[in-house]
Symmetry: C2
Subunit: 552 residues, 2 copies
Amino acid sequence: MTVTDYKSVAAQKREARDQAFLEKWLIPEEKLPSADVKDVLSWPLKSGYLTGEEITITESTYNEMHEKIKCKEWSAYQIASAFCHRASIAHQLVNCLSEVFFVDGLKQAKELDEYYEKTNKLKGPFHGLPISLKDNLNVKGQATSIGFVGLAFNPKEYETDSLIVSKLREMGAVFCFKTNVPVAMMMPESTNHIYGNTVSPFNRGTTSGGSSGGECALGPLLGRCYLGIGSDIGGSLRIPASLQNLFTLRPSSGRFTTYGSRSGLPGLESVASVNGPISTTMENLEFYCENLINHGKQWLDDSKCLEVPWRDVEVPEKLTIAILRDDGVVKPYPAIDRALKHVTESLELQGHEVIDWNPLHHERLTNLIGSFFLSDGGEHCKDLLNLSGEPVFDYMKPYETSADLPVSKLWDLHSERTKLCNEYLAQWNKTCEKTSSGNPIDAIIMPVSPYSGVGVGKFRYIGYTAVFNALDWAAGTVPVTRVDKALDMKDETYMPRNPMDAQTYEEYDVDEVEGCAVSVQVVCKKLQEEKVVKIMKNVSEIIGTSDYWSRS
Amino acid sequence: MTVTDYKSVAAQKREARDQAFLEKWLIPEEKLPSADVKDVLSWPLKSGYLTGEEITITESTYNEMHEKIKCKEWSAYQIASAFCHRASIAHQLVNCLSEVFFVDGLKQAKELDEYYEKTNKLKGPFHGLPISLKDNLNVKGQATSIGFVGLAFNPKEYETDSLIVSKLREMGAVFCFKTNVPVAMMMPESTNHIYGNTVSPFNRGTTSGGSSGGECALGPLLGRCYLGIGSDIGGSLRIPASLQNLFTLRPSSGRFTTYGSRSGLPGLESVASVNGPISTTMENLEFYCENLINHGKQWLDDSKCLEVPWRDVEVPEKLTIAILRDDGVVKPYPAIDRALKHVTESLELQGHEVIDWNPLHHERLTNLIGSFFLSDGGEHCKDLLNLSGEPVFDYMKPYETSADLPVSKLWDLHSERTKLCNEYLAQWNKTCEKTSSGNPIDAIIMPVSPYSGVGVGKFRYIGYTAVFNALDWAAGTVPVTRVDKALDMKDETYMPRNPMDAQTYEEYDVDEVEGCAVSVQVVCKKLQEEKVVKIMKNVSEIIGTSDYWSRS
């Protein structure tokens, strides 16, 4: 295709999406907040476009909606309608949706109502609960472009759902749209030549992050009803969740099925892309994990899934937490340091024990992950880019210039990784020498990235998240605070330790990121999803952010 | 090194091993059965070299030995001594040992006795139980040549145990020797330029198989006390176990740690080599699984291990089994067909349900596994061969001629495999349409290989086992019978379907394999190790081989 071709295909696709919105819900351009209004978090509620009922519904958690459906106070249709209306408004504020199929979602909800009416039985634990989907998840009847112009209509409609979508659909979940992602889902910002950039509702001058950036820009605007599914191969759930103060869980591979979803790096197995939930409430997140795993039994249909139920685990009343404030490569921005101090003090104040964490092998493990991403010499990405002839974003340049590695070299990288991972695990065990209980720590708490908000084009370092993709450990994010100009001034005395550190430091401009979200990462070991979720809950209660997204 | 060099290094290594045997136990050449005595199964017991007590000890199971140790009727030293003496005899019959460290094992046993004497506590569930080790497992103070002359003294002594060895050692297990393997553990016969071939005690004119061939040749000669650890990447536990009528379990990856053991294909992750137990009794095998997993907690120290306990599972009283008799590629020899008919009839006679199994994608999955093995272009193998300049066995020629694949092609093979595996799983689910219960089958029972015994150099096809390495499913072997000249005549009317089938058929010579072992494979799904073990037990009881290795 020529240059005009890729632009015209992208325009057609954009046009098709825009046509799928419902006229009645579209807000005239002039009634929307102007571009210089950065913080739009409360706009959907305050704008007057939502009815009281729509607000009540979308401010309800999964358990609350489930109860209301069960007692027939609310219909699935009512919920889907409120959900779509509020998502429609959100989209106009931050450009978060990719595929829009409100009509299908409402039809699906209606059928669920009819089913319940007729049988007096709910379809399953997700009956009538709306779930937002990242673009890479295939939905029957919809396209999946994952940011490539060449995939915008290729195929125009998928014939089957991704397995996780069909499992949830069987259990009654309702799907109304999908959300924007970066090209190949391999950039830390959700932008592409079809839909452009998805910005953060905390500060529309900053990026929503990536690759689950469409999801995470939407979440805060959708309220407490929000639960979405994203994916994470180097931080793609945790990075955008942290830039929007959402709760997310990056599970170990095998807990949630990824079968039948579209990948930007298909066939890469050296590091597994995983699916995980993102939400405004821990309640929704737990509901999702427990019901999807225990009722969905994904291992019956995905040979890579592990037959491990969602288990009830105990955590000690007195937690022992290792804190990492700086990985020694790129120093986090002041607000993140402030957040970690706050977490530390709050933990200690309530009698929990805090020790330091050493970022053993973080830099090398991050580099290894990068090598795995690029190990096919970008061949698969280039093939997809070549479908349309679209240009390559700066973030993706390494996919153009890397070599298609010989497998013999890949094996050597694998061997190195295995050794480093076991040394990392040994360091965890060795903490028993430092804790007062004599047991190893319960979790690590640390930054998600160096960025407490970041302007478009400046997200350069994923070392704080990627290390746990290399390890395949369970990790989540917990909201802490927002950037405050008065508190988060640049430390003018700081001496950067390397060029990346220097650039990151130089690019910090507190005015640019005013009001941005500040979260921390909670990390447990492989397959300890239940434990990390419990500790995320505890920590958010301890620091007072468990109701971060309640209206009160 | 020159040709003489590799031969002289091999001779030195052989000499060092031979020197490690205890003089008092060595049987003069002329007292050993002559080479034309093929079946030596009962020779150790009948030869008169073992004392009555040594026989009683070595004919005891793990539970029996554990009880005797606990009540101080037997010491760990007595057991280790009987174990070593009988292994010494076995080695003289079939050439099964690679590293011999009887003295260390006896010392270890003595220390355990002293510990028990002093503390009145057992070291752990394996206190005083001897475990045989495949050569690839590192033992502190010993070498690990895995069939390469260049590794014979490189290093001369490992400084640490493989993780599985140290875990078992901490729990009181005793190690006295390691067993022979093929070069790189990548041939289906246990031969190499250091130690030569390990033959089957059922018929010394036939191979013991590989790669856990040293283990499996030893097992039948050691009696009911025998438990060894082997490994399996394409059939390396199941093939030799079936050629010696032993029980083995090939677990899914992540159940048993492989960390810190020496690999012939280091860094290969497209298909995982797994560790598993081999034994003369299901009792020992279960003892090992339960205690190693639940007490050893390998996941604490191996980042690839899954935190999944050994679980108590229920299997239906009335089993539903799918039988595969022929994979459509290479037809099994007559005795295997006879064994499967016997299993089928026995199951049906006792009210169990039997349906047919379709070998969906078996050929392609086997070819994919082969591509993964060779995907580094044999670079790692060649490096190890070049250390000594030793020649390449015919079985290993593909490692000399394959290309070092670009990673982009490897990704495509991964994607294909993922799809085929899920289709295979779907076929399992679909059996519910054929079963009287309306549930899917409980297990597949099928051949382990086409061979009911095979002469040296003629084991050509691993399709019956490799498919489950591609799937990473749980599979085991159960002894059924032995080859009988009168029953297992060549079917002269058979029309082979392809060159491999033709060659296999042509090479069948019932006289050559008279008396050889005939086992079947029992297969359950991924992570269903507990279920496959339970069904192996049930099946062996149903067909009357649960006491196959008892003296009576």
